[in-house]
């Protein structure tokens, strides 16, 4: 009998050089994280759906692979590491030393519409920092991500922002457009919606930041000034990476309560947020940020920040930069 070698859509096997390249890079990055004091956690690939119901956006819900266990429980294949890690660590967080630095690696599975080049299985490597004082955790998470990208030869663009940066401007649009419509339009850079709402929003859509930061409100303007200082400091430390501040990129990460409710309480981040792209390939590499609110939902009080990268996208970046073997 002839057996087919075809696989389901969106998954692939790695053989020979492809497998070697991924493992070699993974080992380098894991060694680096361990040297920096991170401990590995190994998480299951199957979990209950129920504990995550409140944390799921409409988009992430559609991506879940669900199955019914023989006892009738609804299970899901792992689509994200952070919520599972948070749920498992939250009950014993009080007894663990801080800051707690953890890392993980493995596959996540997400249903995606059947189109060429859309993987449904992604191999991720990520790290979380829990209980670091003030903003230390989010800065460390960003630094770790930049170090990983730098170790792959640079060649990446890292976009920085912070949750809630545009909340005041979005709320000021009430009557002209719904907050949800404005948030989604800003993320898509729709000029017409931004123009209809506020001149500063149009500037954010075009340039990433408003010409006059005070338009963001006092608190957000001060936070933007701190972010600019952090960007300048990191640009010196990582000259091979391009760091940009772009508040429109994270316009749907609301912090203000009314807007947060509009998003169904599912905005993930509540502090610094960042996202990395390959410069040559224009491929998303990963991202991260601060997410204390996730732990609040789990009735645990702590600061929490982390990052996650797509290892295969990183292998590609390292290959482009001739850094695979180093």
């Amino acid at each position: 009998m002839k057996i087919s070698a075809s696989l389901p859509t969106g998954v692939a096997g790695l053989f020979f050089d492809g497998a070697r390249r991924r493992r070699r890079l993974e080992e380098r990055l894991v060694r680096r994280l361990e040297e920096d004091g991170f401990s590995e956690v190994i998480l299951p690939v199957i979990d209950y759906l129920d504990p995550y119901e409140e944390m799921l956006s409409a988009g992430s819900r559609e991506e879940l692979y669900r199955l019914i266990d023989r006892d009738g429980a609804v299970l899901v294949l792992r689509a994200d590491f952070t919520p599972m890690l948070a749920r498992l660590i939250a009950p014993r967080l009080g007894s663990l030393p801080k800051p707690l630095k953890l890392f993980y690696r493995g596959d996540v599975l997400r249903y995606r519409e059947e189109r060429a080049g859309r993987p449904r299985e992604l191999y991720q490597l990520g790290a979380e920092i829990l209980g670091a004082g003030g903003g230390a955790g989010e800065r460390l998470a960003l630094r770790q991500l930049l170090a990983v990208l730098d170790a792959c030869g640079g060649g990446a663009i890292v976009v920085l922002g912070f949750a809630g940066a545009l909340d005041q401007l979005i709320l000021a649009c009430a009557g002209r457009a719904s907050p949800l419509e404005v948030m989604q339009a800003l993320v898509r850079r729709e000029r017409s919606v931004a123009r209809r709402c506020h001149r500063a929003l149009l500037e954010v859509v075009e340039r990433g930041v408003p010409a006059d930061p005070s338009a963001l409100g006092e608190g957000a303007a001060a936070e933007l000034a701190r972010l600019e200082a952090l960007r300048d400091e990191l640009a010196v430390a990582f000259p091979r990476l391009e760091l940009k501040i772009d508040l429109a990129e994270f316009a749907d990460q609301a912090r203000q309560e009314t807007l947060y409710r509009q998003l169904g309480g599912r905005a993930y981040y509540d502090g610094l947020v960042f996202r990395a792209f390959g410069r040559a390939s224009a491929r998303p590499l990963g991202g991260g940020g601060r997410y204390d609110r996730l732990f609040e939902k789990l009735e645990a009080e702590t600061t929490a920040a982390g990052f996650c990268i797509d290892l295969d996208a990183l292998v590609e970046l390292a290959g482009e930069r001739g850094e695979e073997g180093s």
Binding site: E113, R115, R188, R189, E190, R191, R207, F277, A282
Partner: protein
């Protein structure tokens, strides 16, 4: 270098006209038999089918392109949509041979090449429909009784009149959209914004 994806089909004319108005003359591209056409030192144009274009832009193979909002809603990619072209607009409508929409509780068949959009529209209806996905000649389905309704693009309405079909309800306004890859926007932000500014100044986008 910036790579621009142009749509074959009904959106090509409006796209070329808009770009010409903004000072980017691409005339003749549609007659060129090469699949990639180099224009000057730092621009390359690709001619792609509407349904493939978002994929090329999402993957960063093309930095930007023009595609109809009908296709964009259907494929659901992570693309930036800074502006919409004012020319080439049309509507997406429910079409049938009878002069009425189904009544509450009624079950019909609906032919379309936009199954996801159709399901979104049906979610808010009191009547139900089995969605039949076709790849072309959608209007033929109600004419030949393959389906009671069709969901399709209407430009002038002439095909409907010629075939004694009724436009029962306009469900979406459709426009050719300028789409940009998220990473490419960060990489070429200044140049892309300058180009979008020129399109706006020429009054060919909104």
């Amino acid at each position: 270098m910036i790579r621009l994806a142009l749509p074959k089909g009904r959106n090509l004319g409006p796209a070329l006209a808009a770009f010409r108005a903004a000072g980017l003359a691409l005339d003749g591209v549609e007659r060129d038999r090469r699949l990639k056409v180099r224009i000057g030192d730092d621009l390359e144009a690709l001619l792609l089918k509407d349904w493939d274009l978002p994929l090329y832009v999402e993957h960063g193979i093309a930095d930007l392109g023009v595609v109809g909002s009908d296709v964009l809603e259907e494929v659901d990619g992570d693309l930036l949509v800074p502006v919409r072209l004012t020319d080439g607009r049309s509507r997406m409508s429910l079409i049938g041979r009878q002069r009425r929409l189904p009544e509450s509780g009624e079950q019909v068949r609906l032919a379309t090449k936009y199954p996801r959009t159709a399901r979104r529209i049906l979610d808010s209806r009191s009547w139900g429909a089995e969605v039949l996905t076709l790849s072309g000649s959608i209007e033929l389905a109600p004419i030949l009784d393959l389906a009671e309704l069709a969901l399709d693009i209407v430009q002038t309405g002439r095909t409907l009149r010629d075939n004694r079909l009724e436009e029962l309800e306009v469900v979406r306004q459709v426009a050719p959209c300028l789409v940009v890859n998220r990473a490419a926007y960060q990489k070429h932000r200044r140049r892309l914004n300058a180009f979008i500014d020129r399109l706006e100044q020429a009054g060919v986008v909104s």
